[in-house]
């Protein structure tokens, strides 16, 4: 059972990390709580389904087009909907909620309310440490690691990454230093949603696809991001692993209580917040006057 927990926790943690890091990025740079983050993840899954199953385009092509299309949609949405109301935090909040609802309803109308299955990219299973793991899950882990490495590279080794980090640190000074803050924000949105889209494309074959699939990961992702500390990428990664393991432990140790895994994860988050109100690695933001 221990091996089961080790492996399952790692795989689930990897998936959550993909989602959480993207969300953390947007919050850190643009101070936007993007409720629609997992809705983009859902959009990517549907796009992938449509391209793969309906248009028969093959895995790689469908994946690339799906990620690209969803990233494009996100940038357009940002320009049209979020940017005009940037100053009003409250308005941004419900704008993202409304966006998520719109995506949900559009998917409901286009594809119907029933569940869809996406064929796995890789078939078959492999035994590691005595645990049978489908290749698809290993693929998820590999893709998650690759995506995160890519993000790290962009953030710490490129000029764009420097601009993003600077803007996250202090928006006004970055603006004064001559960085186009709006463009940096847009780039961040693109990177962040691209991460979510990659998650959607890789993870969707393992789960079922339906118009409401964005709600459950949203809650878990929020729990992770809060737990790790809003705006801290390291915190999101570690938070994702923690929550992944907590869920694995709940399911394996308490078979009759498996349905509680969500509630347990949230309880952990609340417990951590009581001890450290900014999350594990969070930065307490100066109240912007």
């Amino acid at each position: 059972m221990l091996q089961d927990i080790l492996v399952t926790g790692l795989v689930n943690g990897g998936v959550y990390a993909l989602l959480a890091i993207g969300f953390s990025l947007i919050f850190g740079v643009a101070r936007i709580v993007n409720i629609a983050h997992t809705a983009f993840y859902m959009l990517a899954a549907y796009c992938f389904y449509a391209l793969l199953v309906k248009a028969n385009l093959g895995f790689v092509l469908s994946a690339v087009i799906a990620v690209g299309a969803v990233t494009l949609v996100s940038v357009v949405c940002y320009r049209l909907v979020i940017e005009p109301v940037r100053e009003h935090e409250a308005a941004v909040l419900i704008a993202t909620i409304a966006l998520a609802l719109i995506f949900q309803e559009l998917m409901l109308l286009t594809f119907g309310g029933h569940y869809l299955g996406i064929p796995s990219t890789l078939e078959g299973m492999v035994r590691i440490l005595g645990v049978s793991i489908p290749y698809q899950r290993l693929l998820i882990l590999v893709v998650a690691a690759a995506a995160l490495t890519l993000v790290w590279f962009v953030l710490y080794r490129t000029r764009l990454g420097l601009a993003i980090r600077a803007t996250a640190n202090d928006l006004e000074v970055a603006n004064l230093m001559g960085m186009n803050v709006n463009r940096v924000a847009m780039a961040t949105v693109a990177i962040s949603v691209a991460l979510a889209a990659v998650a959607g494309v890789v993870v969707a074959p393992v789960f079922v696809v339906d118009p409401f699939m964005w709600l459950a990961p949203l809650v878990t992702m929020l729990a992770i991001v809060v737990l790790g500390g809003l705006g801290s990428l390291k915190g999101s990664l570690i938070g994702a692993l923690i929550i992944g393991y907590v869920e694995a432990i709940t399911v394996f140790a308490l078979p009759a209580g498996a349905y509680l895994k969500g509630a347990v994860a949230l309880l952990i988050m609340v417990a951590v917040l009581l001890a450290r109100p900014e999350g594990l690695f969070g930065v307490a933001f100066e109240e912007e006057r």
Partner: protein, 405 residues
Amino acid sequence: MLRSIVVALAGTLLAAGAHAQTIKIAILGPMAFVQGENHWAGAEMARDQINKAGGIDVGGRKMMIELVRGDTNEMQSVSDATNTVERVVTRDKADFLIGGFRSEAVLAMQEVAMDYKKIFLGAGAAHSKLGINVEQNYDRYKYWFRVTPPKDVDLVRTTFAVLATVADQIRKQLGKPSPKVAILAEKAVWVEGIVAASQKNLPAMKMEVVGLWQPSAVATDVTAELAAIDRAGADIVFTLLSGPVGIVVGRQMGERNMKAIAFGINVEAQKDEFWQAAAGKANYVSTLDTYAEVQMTPKTLEFVRAFKERFGKAPTYNAGTHDAIQLLKTAIEQAGTTDADKLVPVLEKLSFVGAAGVIEFDKRHDPVWGLGKSTGIAVQWQDGKKVPFWPPQVPGMQSFKMPAR
């Protein structure tokens, strides 16, 4: 002057008469989802059939059926569902109500329908509370009748009957006197009774219960449960699943090439979309179901074939609205009136041959269970097709397959 008055009078009489020529039946369901679609599809078939044959004979006068579409949105909001019922009764002037799916919503909808004393035929919610209300407060709730599915307690009886058949096959093929059963039930109120009954009765049926696993009804991953079930060496996975977890179970069992056979209640596996949703992996998954191309009653084959031809897919149990309307027609013609109070005693004594089975109502206005009455059937997914295999004596049934070992 006189002539214009006569013409006007004739006109109003005709208009009033024309209006009174139709019986309005409201179909209530979540129309954006499969359940509502089936509600409406079954009703449309019944309406077209009856209207083409001339309509319903109400005490000598022929009246056509007019359907009112009531999208309850019950999946997302219980209060919306109650609003819809109120609207179809007061605004659209519906005479009868048929449908419903989500039990929490149907309980609330029942209240509104009983307030207005309208006959409400249930075609989706299985919870016994709906029938218990009739027994405990007959005068208020007598207008409620459940046409489909059989109440949850009766579903159990069918399940056990089929389970016995499956266990027998395992005993013969594998030579195991006492097959091991793993209970995989979603965490929900409706499974509680069945789980308790299984844990008590299965040993007496010469089956060994090796464990109980309860994922959430919307769980997206059951690897943990399946890994543990594998380790426990189960031969049968007894599923009690109504949510999307049914798809996940089917798919992941196939991906793991599990030797155990999945049988039980798996509502998602009743739908045609199940095979695609499980990415073609859910071979050998079996479940209780309602319709197949078998001769449960003389009407079954004809109904299922006509449904498939018209709508391109097989009916789910929600298409029982078709039987409900036909049943209503019989009752109205027998009673000679559409008055609800007079129809109730007629419905109570009715024995109606529907497409799903023979419908008779008990004290709680639930369909009576029994071979020859309403039992439902059991189907198994074999290579992308839903194959019916129980009750074995009904013409059209095929055999149950097991995965190669």
